[in-house]
Each structure stands twice: as C-alpha cells, then as structure tokens.
Amino acid sequence: MSDTIIKEQIFKPENIVYKKTDLMTDNVLSYCPGCGHGTAHRILMEVIDEMGLQSKTIGIAPVGCSVLAYEFMNVDMQQAAHGRAPALATAIKRLLPDKTVFSYQGDGDLAAIGTAETIHACNRGENFTVIFVNNGIYGMTGGQMAPTTLEGMKSSTSPYGRDSQTMGHPLKMTELVAQLPGTYYVTRQAVHTPAAVRKAKKAIRKAIELQQQKVGMTFVEVVSNCNSGWKMTPVDSNKWMVENMFPFYPLGDIKVDGKLVKEV
C-alpha cells in the first residue's frame, strides 16, 4: 500500500482520535509559547465538554496572564477584580446554585492579593471549584517575585534570588486551604508531560463531579511553567520545574473526601 493511499484513507473525520475541543474558541491564545495555561484551559474545557455542562457552567476569569480566559473558553464567563474571583464565584453560586461555577486563577491573584477571599471562601465551604495555576512568578507584569516564588529563585524584583530573611518564605497555598474544614477535595497536579496532563484532567473532572454533589470547596492546583519569566526555553523550563518546583510543591492529592491524606 503506498503512502498516498494511506494518507487519503487516514484523514477522514471518523479516524480522528484527538482534536481540540469545541469549547475552546478559535482565537489564538495570548500566552507565550509553551505556557502551561493553554493546556490547563484545554483540559478544563474538555472536562466541561465531556460532562455536557457547557450551557450550565459559569467561569470566573482572574487578573493576570489568564485575564483573557473569557476570550478562549466558550462558556459563560465573568471577569473579577484582582484576587476577588472567589468572592464573585460565591455570589454566582449562591444566586444560581444549579450552575457549575469555577474560578481560574494564577498565583499572583489567588495567593497574594486574593488571599483573604480564597481562605474565607474555602473556610465557608462554598460549592465551587478553584483552578489555581502556580508558576511561582508574576508572569504578565514582567516576572516579579510572587508569594509562591521559591527560596533562592531569581525574579526581576529578586535578582539575587529570594532571600527568606527579608522577603519571607514561599507560600504553600494548597496545603493551607487543605487544613480548612470547608474544603472537600484538594489536589496538586501539573501539565508538563502527557501523563501529568491526563492525571490533571482526571483531578479536574473529579472536582467538577464533587461540586455537583454540593459537598464543599474543591481546589485543584496546577503547577505550571513560566518560561518567559524564568528566562528559559519551554522544554528547559519544564525540566527546571521538575527539578526545583516539585520538591517544594509535591504533586498528588492532599485532601480527599474531606480527609487529609498527606501531612501538611
């Protein structure tokens, strides 16, 4: 069988095994090449698509790199003030309890200016899902130090590396909210390899399913890269993330069914 015949046979709609979900719009993503945000967006939308929730979902876009998430996600979206996504999500979920509500936030949004909103929403046990993309840096504004920046990590406002004596220690937001009684499912995932993406997708699916049972807050952290902020190529930044981010931010479930499964 010659190659041309195979090519003609293979490019048929019934042979498609993977294509971008229709819940991602055709707009070109505004993210840098290799940024984990795109993958995180896509797996979230795939979960919504597979569960048939497109018309019943309301998402909250944050401030940060993913501020334009409403341009890319083909579901109802609302954009919150900096850090206030959990407060807005609380309002939406309480007014429209039958809708699936998620907030999609970065570390500068959720762990810095929005710490109060996040912790209190988790403590109240609001029934929505938080997707927390942690890349340890303020990506959009030029790579400044974030609360989640690792000790010794260089950023544009800590050019000699983060010094915990003067700049404080990195904040493990996910471990922090896992200790609150209002959270039901807390996990940390990554999107740097196909296996990690599949696991992260399962975790997001579980979080959305639990949300429909109205059991409490579900919180999914996605450890991601910021190759522009870290000044590396995408492939190198993924390697750097495995070597440096994962020892401090270990992947896996932290709280399952309302019980801590890992010491925090």
Binding site: M1, I6, F11, L29, P33, T193, P194, N227, P234
Partner: protein, 73 residues
C-alpha cells in the same frame, strides 16, 4: 509492519514552536520545520511516518493546534 497508523494535521498558523510536543513524542516523528509561519515561529511537522497516533503531542500542546488521526492497517 505496524498494526496501527497515525498521522497529524497541524494548524501551522497557530503553532508557536514551543517544542513541548517534540519532547513528548515517543517515536520521534515530529520536528521543527525550517520555514516560519505568519508570526515568524518555526512550526512543528511530521518528518517521517512512524506516527502511531498515540495523541501525546496533541495532549501536551498548549495551543491545541494538533489533530490526530489513527487507522488500523
């Protein structure tokens, strides 16, 4: 001869040339092209026909530019 045959279609204009897919491909079927797209990025392309349609490249692609096809032969 392989029992399954895969192939990919890349949305060249949306590819940003991050090379994450090249790292993820188990059969080393894909590589960066020498040409650039409208935005000046090198885009990824199939360089030989060892593709098995495993979808790894499409799953890690941050921009979702890859469509994967697979048939049994």
């Amino acid at each position: 001869m392989a029992k399954v045959k895969g192939d990919i279609i890349v949305d060249i204009e949306k590819c940003k040339g991050c090379e994450v897919c090249i790292d993820a491909c188990p059969t080393h079927t894909i590589a960066m092209s020498e040409q650039v797209n409208g935005k000046g990025y090198h885009f990824m392309q199939n360089v030989h026909d060892a593709c098995t349609g495993c979808t790894n490249c499409a799953i890690v692609c941050p921009d979702g530019v890859i469509t994967v096809y697979r048939i049994k032969v």
